[in-house]
Symmetry: D2
Subunit: 498 residues, 4 copies
Amino acid sequence: MTSSVANGGTEVTRLWTGDYYNEGNGSKESIFDIVKEECGVFGVFGHPDAANLSYYGLHALQHRGEESCGICTSDDGTFHYHRGMGLVKEVFDRDRLESLKGKQAIGHVRYSTSGSSHLGNAQPLVFKYRGGDLAVCTNGNLVNEPIIRKELEESGSIFQTTSDTEVIAHLIARSSKDLVEAVKDAFLRLIGGFAFLIQTKDYLIAACDPQGLRPMVMGRLGEAYIFSSESCALETIGAEFVRDVQPGELLVLDKDGLREDRFAPMERRAMCSMEYIYFARPDSDIYGANLHSTRKRMGQILAQESFVDADIVTGVPDSSISAAIGYAEQTGIPYELGLIKNKYTGRTFIQPSQELREKGVKMKLSAVRKVVEGKRVVMIDDSIVRGTTSLRIVNMLREAGALEVHVRITSPPFMNPCYYGIDTPNPADLIASSKSVEEIRQAINADSLYFLTERGLRDAVGIYPDEYANGLCMACFNNDYPTPVRFEDAKLTSCSCD
Amino acid sequence: MTSSVANGGTEVTRLWTGDYYNEGNGSKESIFDIVKEECGVFGVFGHPDAANLSYYGLHALQHRGEESCGICTSDDGTFHYHRGMGLVKEVFDRDRLESLKGKQAIGHVRYSTSGSSHLGNAQPLVFKYRGGDLAVCTNGNLVNEPIIRKELEESGSIFQTTSDTEVIAHLIARSSKDLVEAVKDAFLRLIGGFAFLIQTKDYLIAACDPQGLRPMVMGRLGEAYIFSSESCALETIGAEFVRDVQPGELLVLDKDGLREDRFAPMERRAMCSMEYIYFARPDSDIYGANLHSTRKRMGQILAQESFVDADIVTGVPDSSISAAIGYAEQTGIPYELGLIKNKYTGRTFIQPSQELREKGVKMKLSAVRKVVEGKRVVMIDDSIVRGTTSLRIVNMLREAGALEVHVRITSPPFMNPCYYGIDTPNPADLIASSKSVEEIRQAINADSLYFLTERGLRDAVGIYPDEYANGLCMACFNNDYPTPVRFEDAKLTSCSCD
Amino acid sequence: MTSSVANGGTEVTRLWTGDYYNEGNGSKESIFDIVKEECGVFGVFGHPDAANLSYYGLHALQHRGEESCGICTSDDGTFHYHRGMGLVKEVFDRDRLESLKGKQAIGHVRYSTSGSSHLGNAQPLVFKYRGGDLAVCTNGNLVNEPIIRKELEESGSIFQTTSDTEVIAHLIARSSKDLVEAVKDAFLRLIGGFAFLIQTKDYLIAACDPQGLRPMVMGRLGEAYIFSSESCALETIGAEFVRDVQPGELLVLDKDGLREDRFAPMERRAMCSMEYIYFARPDSDIYGANLHSTRKRMGQILAQESFVDADIVTGVPDSSISAAIGYAEQTGIPYELGLIKNKYTGRTFIQPSQELREKGVKMKLSAVRKVVEGKRVVMIDDSIVRGTTSLRIVNMLREAGALEVHVRITSPPFMNPCYYGIDTPNPADLIASSKSVEEIRQAINADSLYFLTERGLRDAVGIYPDEYANGLCMACFNNDYPTPVRFEDAKLTSCSCD
Amino acid sequence: MTSSVANGGTEVTRLWTGDYYNEGNGSKESIFDIVKEECGVFGVFGHPDAANLSYYGLHALQHRGEESCGICTSDDGTFHYHRGMGLVKEVFDRDRLESLKGKQAIGHVRYSTSGSSHLGNAQPLVFKYRGGDLAVCTNGNLVNEPIIRKELEESGSIFQTTSDTEVIAHLIARSSKDLVEAVKDAFLRLIGGFAFLIQTKDYLIAACDPQGLRPMVMGRLGEAYIFSSESCALETIGAEFVRDVQPGELLVLDKDGLREDRFAPMERRAMCSMEYIYFARPDSDIYGANLHSTRKRMGQILAQESFVDADIVTGVPDSSISAAIGYAEQTGIPYELGLIKNKYTGRTFIQPSQELREKGVKMKLSAVRKVVEGKRVVMIDDSIVRGTTSLRIVNMLREAGALEVHVRITSPPFMNPCYYGIDTPNPADLIASSKSVEEIRQAINADSLYFLTERGLRDAVGIYPDEYANGLCMACFNNDYPTPVRFEDAKLTSCSCD
């Protein structure tokens, strides 16, 4: 199938994606050079406006997935759902929302993680099984999905998507136990990072993987319960934050209210550090830490670790603004808007041809000449993936007249692929996997380059190892994966893509 | 689910549909009063233009289903597919067609058979199973689909559509035999009327039910094999007609060419008489009989059975034109265009409000005043379902000045529901199930009314019972269903809708 | 401008169009070989449902123009309008219609008459002028439009469209008289064939050219007045036919009701014969003659003029069905459905590649093998323009097994361009302008060929020359143009395209 | 017409707009409470990629108008154009751009300035006149447009739009002089603020009003000349900034290159201060001043004028970020992200119902609880129009836990309507026109409130009155309009809306 997942090989191979904004014009690498989050989930239990709240909630989570989205409600057991390609505001209109009746809903926003993007992969997926209707959506990635999928196929299962979500539904349906027990059994089979929402006529179930790799929070809105990948969506709908869903937890809502259960003990808490560095919205909190404040601290610690004398500090928008302000505050060097992003750039935008780009046509970022001309610039960014984007931005600043460009990165060097739901390039393309810091500095044409240390990152986040948790998954920096990711059996080593 | 299928009850209940052209304006019955075909299938094996040929083939079968369509090709085992809501010409553009590479294809056009129409129900459905990729599409209806579905659910299967097609895929995937044997085993489980096309990386398989209730023909285009619900699509693509697919046959195409196999003996040939009367295009042939000529004979026999002295003969367009010409030829009464249909009316047309309709605004049919004024009119139609449309047309002729309106129907009274893929109203709404011919005449305000006899119909079609076959399924007229349709177990008696 | 009109040359040059269904696939000629009507107009005065009635009225006139359409209402002097590319059912939805408030409306359907089709050319055009708002729409063509346009430009006018309609609006606005007198003065300047509807806050005005080349009828619906290019639209909305608008008439509706006025004496009545032969719907009447009946008479007279012994008569759908029935009735040869048209073919349909067409893929017409095989066929068509389509159809019949194909045309040979609103090919491409009937017969591969005589045509239509009228414009056959069409000044001889 | 412009009355009446994002849900005021820029223009002369450059240039100017856009190219005198409703990236695709051939182009982005928005008002407008093709686009507003329009109508002109642009085209076409002189004559008639681009087959002409109220800059890209409303678009396409177009200048480009001409002496330079405060992008420069730096200075001066002891400074995104950083730098109070905007909110977004909003559902702005909780907050905003938005934001901060909210505004109180192209509410609705600062403070629920002084604004911008110029138009603050805006004749005092 066009959307098939490559299998086989004795090495872990990771699918990665071209950018679907950018077909056939040869300028792939420039957009490619980012790390993409794959999904966001949102759920409502017990509110008459469940679909509307999901619409606003998913809208607040839109940055976690722009490709497709969907909402499935349960109206006293009758399911209504709608999914489509595009942004939340594009997929839903008033009529659609009104047709999604019921007090219970789960919703999803999704990034493309394979070259072609199918409506068929939009979530929530909705199934009929012995127990009636079943809707499932997820954020994350299962490391052992191919093994389970193969087992299921061997015993006669058929698959209509390439999604982890369908695998879970099969596992649940195959169990002869009641739903909650079936879900627990199913989840025990899973290795990876995930946050799940499951809806049946009687239940809404929320769960996170035993390492807590992917975030999910619970809130209340009056009597209703709300679940969301990030807390910003709670604020958006006026809900009160209650707590983070814990690793291995299984929260079950039914007519008797909330039951706090577990499908697994917490093994080792390991929240994705990329959520702190890059993905989550600055107005979200994870485990009590606000993301803007955390990133500002990253900038401050970066300044302590690697001060450089300069005239201005500028951040690469949007993700590095907070850190740049922190760096500026710490050093006393003025923070300036040296780089500006065109907010209208988006999916359907026509990328400039290679020829036009060489002639200076900018895609979505430009340097502000009047601000940087004749200045020594500290440029704060969150990460260097392939290095091509960094090179472009440094050169953009130089062409706008910057005398010096000192690059400060709010994360350690990115060297290893993610297996838990972050879409990363082919490991061979990660510049830090083969080059020293000095070599990277040369490659990106910077006057100096410094990466935040793991310790600095941990201090900024404020999460430290304890009995159960080392707090952060930094595998992409230090190769310390909190779950098994490579298996004996060659067939089992490939990693499906969502 | 919004698209859920009503289950339960001790009586056979049949889902029927409102017309999706016609939302919320209170004028349902007028469009409702027709019988709708549910699907058309088309397949190509061994032609480099497989997708293009499917496009033109499905376009020729468009009358069999206007709601959604799809094509799945196999390019040396890699599947490519596209499905969408709307007409073939709306769903596919040049780019889409070009992306559907490969020498092998199956395609489908589909009618809505439930109130809400989901893209998810568009076919071909494409699955991954142990054997690789599997694409399936079907025309028809399985009487025992709920039983099989329930069994499958009990043993852990999940369903994403309400389609018979998904049930078949499950049966195939559950078998441990090789594909062809698995398909045979699966088909042996099925009761109903169906024409199937199945595609894997190695095979294209075509099959019809053991009673041959739904039509399918095979053709050749150079070295390639073509399958189609109707022969008109062969003519459209310039292919040569080879033969009708026989009841219970299983035609298997692979690298070794065509293998003519069977999954069941022919039990009793029983081609759907509605295909002859109404559905199939006049330029199609079924079992050697051209549909235009057959309908013309219906008109001639009707004239022999029930001559009436009149000034003009007119047919209700488009389906009754041929019969009207036959009636006119037989009687010598001139054939005239007394009724005309607006060819631009279609899905997105806004139906006139009740108020406007009462004031005389016509939807899509109008009487031609200059033709019918002061005339005694014989009006030929193919069937009377609820009677409301007939009443409207008769009145339209009277308002245009017809002195007398004599209604002649080219089929016997329609009294029983169809279980084999024709979408019929609730049996209680079939006017002939509760009223005598004289009562119907009064109800439709005709001066006289006559229905073609079963014998006349059989004579027109030219198919007579023999050892294996009574030739025609006329169950909707005479209650003689060629398969079991009612079962002991109350749960099993309901009939799913495709 | 892309939509510019070619000017200059000492000979009348006529713009002609490629077919916009058919871009860039080399199969132009096949669709090109038809003659296209350019527009239809519809107006309502004094009905609360003016916009809705216009919607249904324009829908009934859709065959007169599929490219764009529009409606402009007046709500006690406030104008509301909407125009768009596409069919009436595509351009308007419920919300659009509801926003078009008011008891007065004029509407328009339009064909493309230049290679590129602009929304800007969609009608009604709406202007602000000294007198307030002014909406205008027209069917037809002004021979002297370039002269007037040039004069207007010389005195400082600017034009935003290439439409005749804008020229008229300028003429009206330039007059210092009151509106009705200004319109009369303006119309006196015009040479050509046209039917106009003009709306201001006080008036709705309808007018036809002094030769009555283009049809328009008036009807009543209760107290309201209705105008329409064809009477079929009156029947569609349940309105009563009152009479044809006469050549040179100016019908003025205002708060005092209907005033029957004239802007010119009737010079010579010359209704377009192509309306009778081809364009108008069979359920329309023009000057009292029903079109279906008229065409049937054409077939009958054709049979009298040129009987041929054959097995079946078939008509090229849709326009020649009536004539074929007439030919069959007259000769006793059975009428059969030897050719069938795919009713779903339309604007967005992908034309088959030259390669596929050579392999036999049909576009929209196919021969019915079972009907024509082994038969001597009389094929009735309405005209031969370039001859390419006729050749294709004759060959299609032969390939389907016809033994002989005798072509009978319901019009005289088409030899001269139209200046009055019918879109015709370059005169050099009209096969009859350079070939004898025998040469045409050979070119289209027919066994025999006969064209209806002018006298036969006149007899069928039943309109004969009298004091004021020769009844029919047959200039395209006999070069007898009812108005001047060629002028001394070379610059003035070109003819704009609408 | 639906898009009609209200006329008459002895007082200046100003049309203002509802927000078209926001139909029928009763939440008008919240979005209404902003001041909107009306347009941006962009031109290219002498570059083979003229259309592509215009695409990227207009994209960079998108913030100046999101409603519709268009590009008109000249390909050796043949005009090609495309206009549409929506963002640049929505209106143009690759095919459209490729069809816009030629080395010369003018383009436009436009805001809606009346309740209903018509494609007909999209620019550039393209005309045919005596001299051939003429394309015109403009940013700004003509105060005396109604007078000129009336004169033109009196002498027979017709109008198809409500745009100033059409008035200019009429004036040019009416002149018997050559184009450049005709344009000069026309411009001498105009009173108001405007930046024009005019294209004919021979010329591209750029001009600004004699007061220089609206900005336009000239740049070079190789041999080509570029014009743009803002300099940011030059940077985007890699062009070099040359200079600002001066008040009263007329820059003419033809085959002989650039001619620097004037249609009027510079009367009194009066650049719109709102461009500095709010509209122009922070990376644009006007008269040598970078907008980010200027706004930062506004914040610094504001801090000097009105220091307040607080814990954090936050800006209302996006326009007040720079000023907030300036305020923070000046005071040493940390700058924090206390308010965050959802970047995905846009035209098609469904606004929350009143009920949901009362329950706390945020539209597009939210306060960051973790950042503001327990803090004394300085909130920087650019202006207070009606006060409703300010009230909402202050309350949002309080609900998120802010202890004190001190509002600092980077402009003087907004008290008078703009006649030069800024869309402002009904003067009666400007809160500062009827309330004192203390009353406004209470109305917006702030702990303290301070508006930047005129002198502070002037110091920040760095433009001071001189012989020819007072540098800034601050009429909306101080009622000192740089042109006449009220006329004797009551009929003449109303101001058209673009």
